[in-house]
């Protein structure tokens, strides 16, 4: 592995030394991009009550003024009720106009729920969305092995009894494709309001979501600018505290808020706590030698190597998501 010229690896390596200067730089770029490059006069942001959209909204307010920012809550029937409450709290705190666009009807029109439930019933014939909640989980704990993760379908009945089965490819694809209507509907609604107001759509993905491909192409990946797309989660939390994001939002566990059953992002996708993920991704992308990383992370060299192999595979296999349309 070619080692770049860099500082010794440590647990503090991703921590921003100066939140204010990072914040000022993002705000200046955001203002310049919206006004001078996109020639738009404000920002539309989908707010979920999560930390990423909260920080993005706060930065947009600093860049463009609260009066030029519109926060949009986009719940559907599987959304957590907490999301709306936290999103409203955020909008109130930053004095931003916030509206709610419930996309359940649009999703029904697309057949989102019906197509998803049809695939679930192929695996669990007894599944009834009125009685059961469902989610997708990772079957094998993948990061310390070189095998890619396998996904399982989990259903939970109204008494809390959980069943889990490995997801065959056709059903996995159908559930995923149907669920992606949610992010794509939200994107459509954000652009409706952006065009109506001559605003830009400000995307909320952080560095991990962008680089590991944890977003839906032309869904939450559909935006004009992604101002926190270069920030590790640790840094997003630093900015959240600096910007005065409500503590309840900072303390929330990041969830996918996509399936009817509660599911954390770690459980569904990352397989590691964010603090560890940040450090290991930093080490991977800056080509640190696993033998330098392992003792700091209290892992074996082999475990670090396996994590790097998984990162490499995730980055390569999700390149399709980050690609613009091929024009030649």
């Amino acid at each position: 592995m070619n080692k770049k010229n860099h500082n010794p690896f440590s647990r503090e390596i991703v921590i921003l030394e100066n939140e204010k200067s990072e914040c000022d730089a993002i705000v200046a770029r955001l203002h310049d991009n919206v006004i001078h490059r996109l020639h738009r006069t404000g920002a539309v942001i989908g707010i979920s009550g999560g930390i990423d959209s909260s920080v993005t909204l706060a930065l947009s307010v600093l860049a463009l003024g609260a009066e030029n920012v519109l926060g949009i809550m986009l719940p559907e029937k599987d959304s957590s009720g907490d999301s709306a409450r936290f999103a409203q709290q955020l909008a109130d705190k930053f004095n931003v106009r916030a509206i709610t666009e419930n996309i359940t009807g649009a999703l029904q029109g697309f057949g989102c729920y019906q197509r998803r439930d049809e695939a679930v019933k192929n695996i669990f014939p007894e599944y009834d969305p009125a009685r059961y909640k469902m989610k997708i989980g990772v079957k094998n704990s993948g990061l310390y092995t070189n095998l890619p993760p396998l996904f399982s379908l989990v259903i939970i009945d109204d008494k809390g009894v959980e069943q889990s089965k490995r997801l065959p490819a056709p059903e996995f694809r159908q559930i995923e494709a149907a669920s992606n209507f949610k992010q794509r509907c939200r994107m459509s609604m954000l652009y409706y309001h952006a065009e109506r107001l001559h605003y830009a759509v400000i995307g909320t993905p952080n560095k991990h979501e962008v680089e590991q491909g944890f977003f839906v192409k032309y869904g939450d990946g559909g935006a004009d600018i992604m101002p926190i797309g270069h920030l590790y989660k640790t840094q997003v939390y630093q900015l959240a505290r600096y910007l005065g994001i409500p503590q309840e939002i900072i303390d929330r566990t990041p969830t996918t808020d996509t399936y009817s059953a509660e599911q954390t992002q770690q459980e569904f996708f990352y397989q590691l706590p964010f603090a560890q993920m940040d450090l290991l991704w930093y080490a991977y992308e800056n080509k640190y030698d696993p033998s330098e990383v392992a003792p700091v992370m209290e892992m074996t060299v082999e475990q670090v190597k396996s994590v790097f192999v998984n990162f490499e595979r995730k980055f390569k296999t999700t390149e399709y998501l980050r690609m613009a349309p091929i024009r030649e």
């Binding site: 079957k139 094998n140 092995t145 890619p148 490819a169 192999v309 296999t317």
Partner: protein, 92 residues
Amino acid sequence: MKEILENTAQIKEKIDSYIRKNTLSNISNLNDKTLLFREGIFDSMAFVLLIDYIEETFGIKASDEDLIEENFESIEAITRFITHKYEVSTVR
């Protein structure tokens, strides 16, 4: 379990053929010991499809405990895994 058990060479040939047909990566150097996932020959979805193929073609069931690197890292490992499953089934 299929009534006619296939021998190791036949199993290996079928797995090799399946991988060559279904990978989207460059496989000019593919051999029995190539580390399929470490080398990026197969991704997550291809792994799921491979398991589906093995279960359907060879009439065996891969349990959660079977889904480890030792059983799937190469054509050789997969062949050994399927053969072992056959043997266990025959003993029973």
